[in-house]
């Protein structure tokens, strides 16, 4: 490219760049047209469905969950964020003793959100919630019991 062609090309490309930024600036100046900032406490945040906030256990309206107490999630967890305290109790349907969960304990403070427990779960009992309000003043409140008090296994999960 010759000397003058270079100059003309430079001016052209610089103006092109300014056109691009100007295209964003002027609508933003009066109408905030392209502004993507969410002013969080004033405006509701947009949380995507795949956002990994914390692990929760799904319960239906009869306070039943799908966790059989197989401990696959506990084994899959790389840093021991999940502890399952289980018990043997009489199953009213069969009249035999059966293994079931007492407490599904989840340490949110240790969790790295790697999703391995959710992939390991054979019955889809645990899942990600999109809750991001996880900050607390006391780290003990980050240790959560995922199964609700008095909940029991949903019928038909083990088949």
């Amino acid at each position: 490219m010759g000397y003058f062609n270079k100059i003309i090309n430079a001016i052209k490309t610089l103006l092109q760049g300014m056109q691009v930024t100007g295209h964003y600036f002027f609508p933003n100046l009066f109408k905030r047209k392209y502004v993507i900032t969410r002013q969080y406490p004033d405006e509701p945040p947009v949380v995507f469905e795949r956002f990994k906030g914390e692990v929760v256990m799904w319960h239906n309206e009869n306070n039943e969950h799908r966790c059989t107490g197989c401990q696959a999630c506990e084994i899959a967890c790389p840093n021991g964020s999940i502890e399952i305290i289980w018990k043997r109790e009489l199953d009213p349907a069969t009249g035999k003793k059966k293994k079931m969960i007492d407490k599904h304990i989840y340490h949110l403070g240790m969790c790295t959100s790697c999703s391995l427990c959710i992939q390991a779960c054979p019955t889809n009992a645990i899942m990600w919630s999109t809750n991001f309000h996880s900050a607390t003043y006391d780290r003990h409140s980050l240790t959560k019991v995922l199964n609700r008090p008095g909940s029991k296994l949903m019928a038909g999960v083990e088949e």
């Binding site: 300014m18 600036f25 502004v35 900032t37």
Partner: protein
């Protein structure tokens, strides 16, 4: 509001006037210092809001209505911070650095004609004096960098010196083309000479080329992005003001924005008719000083906005690209342009609205 400070000062030196004149001088200095602080704060705020809108953000909008008190809060924070001087710093040069930068910026601003007769210091070599003084500002940067004993500061300051030496030349040639049209170096007379046609249009091709060169060189002289190699964050920490904290840093920051204001004000004075109204639309109205200020500020703010637009669009140049741009492109073009303008003035091939319409 006739501020003939130069005369007052001369008469005071000769002893023909008493302490009243000293009082007036002090008052004028106070007005300029006030303007200096307010303009600095407003420009920082404007820069941040404009940057926000360019980057699809909002910018500061929480402190005060539309974030208008944000920079005041920042200034308060900086005042309350500790001024930390490095152990092995050269304390005299370290402190002389920011004072020199601030003083040169203040001298520069005192020469700007804000409106008819609102000018602190109207001397015959006005534009020449401004370019001389603005080159002294780089000494402050060098002092500060040398004094703070930091190799990155010094690299930044040397780059600043390099940039100033290079770009002062093409800025000078752009100014010379204007002076050829105006026939004077006095800033108020340069504005008066633009009655009818602004110098941006009067010299058609040569003027527009000179305007572009002056904008590029002015941006480079104020060390703003695309030419901010001086502080290149990714290479030098913060460049020459790495070792400064609190108000020391704030002075450099303020001076940078005031220098931007000076360059923009000079651009509007030299090319856009300064305080003259376009087509004289407000000439018949009362309170001429207000309208002068209004038009001057409008033009200056537009040029400042243009410089901000540059800043948030263009990527930073490499040092060799910077020098190539100056010595291989701007300087030869500026030289040829000056000769071209001399030819236009000599043959009277100027574009003059008054002459064309027989007014």
């Amino acid at each position: 509001m006739n501020l003939m400070t130069a005369n007052i000062f001369a008469q005071w030196l000769q002893g023909t006037h008493g302490w009243l004149y000293v009082l007036i001088l002090v008052l004028i200095v106070a007005i300029y210092l006030g303007f200096f602080a307010v303009a600095g704060l407003l420009l920082v705020l404007m820069e941040r809001r404009v940057a926000g809108f360019f980057q699809l953000r909002l910018g500061p909008n929480r402190v005060g209505p539309w974030g208008s008190l944000q920079t005041i809060a920042d200034a308060l924070k900086l005042v309350s911070k500790e001024i930390f001087i490095p152990k092995f710093a050269d304390k005299l040069l370290y402190k002389a650095g920011y004072y020199l930068v601030i003083i040169t910026a203040l001298i520069g601003i005192s020469l700007i004609p804000f409106a008819r007769e609102i000018q602190a210091f109207d001397i015959n070599v006005g534009i020449f004096f401004i370019s001389a003084v603005s080159s002294v500002g780089v000494l402050g940067i060098l002092f500060g960098a040398w004094g703070s004993r930091n190799k990155y500061s010094l690299i930044g300051a040397m780059r600043s010196g390099l940039q100033m030496v290079s770009y002062e030349l093409s800025a000078g040639f752009a100014v010379v083309t204007v002076v050829l049209m105006a026939g004077t170096l006095k800033l108020s007379s340069i504005v008066e000479a633009q009655h009818g046609t602004w110098f941006l249009f009067k010299g058609h091709i040569a003027s527009i080329v000179a305007f572009m060169i002056f904008m590029i060189a002015g941006t480079a002289e104020t060390n703003r992005v695309p030419f901010d190699l001086v502080e290149g964050e990714s290479e030098l920490g913060a460049g020459f003001h790495t070792e400064y904290s609190g108000m020391g840093f704030a002075y450099f920051f303020l001076a940078e924005f005031i220098n931007m204001f000076i360059i923009a004000a000079l651009t509007s004075t030299l090319f856009l008719g300064g305080w003259l109204a376009p087509f004289g639309i407000t000439d018949a109205l009362p309170a001429q000083w207000f309208w002068g200020l209004f038009w001057f500020m409008l033009k200056t703010m537009s040029v400042i906005f243009l410089m901000m637009w540059f800043r948030w669009t263009f990527p930073r140049l490499r040092i060799d690209q910077l020098l190539t741009l100056e010595w291989k492109y701007l300087l030869p073009i500026g030289l040829v342009n000056t000769v071209l303008m001399a030819l236009f003035v000599w043959k009277d091939w100027l574009f003059d609205i008054g002459k064309i319409f027989g007014l």
